[in-house]
Symmetry: C2
Subunit: 403 residues, 2 copies
């Protein structure tokens, strides 16, 4: 290896320490920030007794989510995985189908497919967004599938490929125009796994508006949290109504009778958690501003360093920078673990990307295309501390609103 | 009909008004009571930032649940339905199996069976507990099944019957000795749906200790609530570990790597919800005392009324009286809806029992035994307002603890 391009783990740690300005205080990967009306709203739940399935915060949270994302409808759910399961079901995924998912994703994306009795079919990534490589996928589908009555049929497994889940890695929007075109050409329902991309825009339109349905997550490590929670976005009123119905045990409205017309789920978000979410959403603009300032600081701190680079938002997108990311050059891949060790030893929580789905035992036999880019990325990605508050030293003060 | 035995809906409403002492104030069926340290614990979550999957309240809640129920292990879950799904999976239920469930239950019991790809097989009720009639079931299984290598095989459907879910209706413990014996005789794994029976004892042992695994619920209408939540009880350490593993995405412990060794679930309870649960559990003895006093008041208020009776705990059990229950005589069954109407019109929330699973469209083809008792009960049950605080006028003051 050219010594000049070799990365030094200790140097990475020093740069991070400088950016994070935390001295010896431990810095977690992503912690929530409760600096708004969280306590007021949560206390209101306790005072009113409405903490569970009944109460005004769930509807309010749904309204605010729709407003913020520009989606016509939002249905709150108990978490992002459950939301994605319902999205897939409503997109028409049935037992025995295959669903295209990125190999490079959190395991929940593929698990949700399994909950429908379907089989994850693993796709490779491209390097501008880290999401599914639409061009490569199109070539692969052309070679290995054929359309039968408008349904994409996997000629190798003799199963229908019903849908595609596009995931916005670390908040960076995938190439949605291309992915949408591939879905159109091959009759695949597009579902967005937007768990990480609340606040991220593809060409000025918020992510979650391109899929037939899309799933959001409000887990504790996300840009806003409800403790645990998720939501389903859609612009289709009928799908929204079905989403609400399926997430609330498929109960038909009646003054007292318990009539359920299909196998439904207990996936509604409790009012207590929605209350937290309402307070969090009010701070979205601030969180986005702080996270963008932190990302810019990381970018400039690593700008001159050979062998490693800060991963920026794609040219066509405005990202929420949910998790900031370094990518090692191929010749430095072997230093990923030493860097993870050194940074974590110094109290700076970093982590690698998820193990590729193709390497997890339960997906060992899942159909897949060539995954060489995802395999290379997996060895070279390092996520950095990304809590909004870490951007405070770098953010411009809030605009006065008079401009 | 003998006029002397005819129930008068207006009279029922008057009796309820007297017991409830609420004047014209509306009385919900069951509302939670936050009179303990709920605020302190929830605020602690917000102050510490631990609202989600990390935080000390989940473990504390699990410890307190185990202590209270006497079960060796408790694993908190996102709700009771999810807990039951995991119980069934760990009891060995697989796609294509049948599982015995009561026809008279909330839909979640049967849905959880479906989530495993299994088929609910509906059983009749007896009238002492309203739960599964073990004697009748034994006769039915003898006639319709045979044992093959220790597995109960349904001769009519040619499918294995893998497990039985015993549900403790309205908190009243089912005849567990009898049910356990039937399960033993026919090689069925016993799972308790104890969603309604926290605080209920079968012959001095808390419900949830008889099944291989048992599910609790802390939905907003339960005796204690976490907003939404549930738990899995077991006395088997290996099953407990698997329950924790499955409810937390089957992730293997590692300093940073994302390794998952099977298709797991995002079913852990958030710390925020567990905090509420810890405060609620501290008040269990009080809630039980108040609810028992209310039940006693209902019992005595309806003692002299012909054509209708208050449903008492079974002779062998001590019930939490989660939902107080009236049962009409057969000749008064047609008055169920007029009574529901009159009471609800007067702001007293009453409700009928759940529609039998056998009458819901998605279970229309489910295998079943004769369900005549459940069918008769369905027409005659009325649940009464049962919040703990309604017992306040009738409860003896808390014992001083000096006895």
């Amino acid at each position: 290896m050219n010594h000049r391009n070799q990365v030094d783990p200790a140097e990475i740690t020093e740069v991070l320490k400088t950016v994070l300005r935390k001295g010896n205080e431990p810095v977690p990967l992503h912690e929530p920030c409760f600096a708004g009306r969280e306590w007021d709203y949560v206390k209101d739940c306790l005072d009113s007794g409405y903490v569970s399935s009944v109460g005004p915060y769930v509807e309010r949270f749904e309204r605010e989510l729709a407003r913020f994302t520009g989606a016509k409808y939002a249905a709150a759910a108990v978490n992002g995985t459950s939301a994605l399961q319902i999205c897939l079901k409503l997109a028409g995924v049935r037992a025995g189908d295959e669903v295209i998912v990125p190999a490079l994703t959190f395991v929940a994306t593929a698990n949700a497919v399994c909950y429908c009795g379907a089989i994850p079919h693993l796709a490779d990534s491209e390097t501008e967004s880290l999401g599914i490589d639409g061009e490569k996928l199109a070539g692969y589908l052309k070679e290995t599938t054929r359309l039968r009555n408008g349904v994409c049929w996997n000629r190798r497994t003799d199963r229908p490929i019903r849908a595609l889940v596009a995931m916005h890695t670390f908040g960076h929007p995938v190439q949605l125009d291309l992915i949408s075109r591939v879905c159109g050409d091959y009759g695949l329902a597009l579902v967005e796994d937007a768990a990480e991309s609340l606040g991220s825009y593809y060409k000025n339109l918020h992510t979650g508006n391109f899929g037939k349905l899309s799933a959001l997550s409000f887990n504790g490590n996300k840009i806003v949290t409800t403790g645990g929670g998720g939501a389903i976005l859609t612009n289709d009123e009928a799908l929204y109504r079905e989403a609400k119905h399926l997430t609330t045990t498929a109960k038909l409205p009646h003054r007292w009778a318990f009539l359920h017309d299909e196998v439904g789920y207990n996936y509604r978000m409790p009012n207590l958690n929605a209350a937290l979410g309402c307070a969090q959403l009010e701070q979205m603009e601030k969180f986005l501003r702080l996270k963008r300032a932190l990302a810019e600081e990381y970018r400039s701190a690593f700008a001159g360093m050979p062998g490693i680079r800060f991963f920026p938002e794609p040219s066509y997108a405005r990202s929420n920078y949910w998790l900031n990311t370094l990518i090692l050059s191929e010749e430095n891949a072997s230093l990923r673990d030493p860097i993870l060790e050194d940074t974590n030893d110094h109290g700076i929580q970093t982590r690698p990307v998820w193990t590729l789905m193709s390497r997890l035992p339960m997906f060992r036999d899942s159909p897949r295309m060539d995954l060489s880019t995802a395999e290379s990325l997996e060895k070279r990605i390092i996520n950095l501390p990304s809590s909004a508050r870490l951007g405070e030293p770098y953010a411009k003060p809030e605009s006065s609103g008079s401009s």
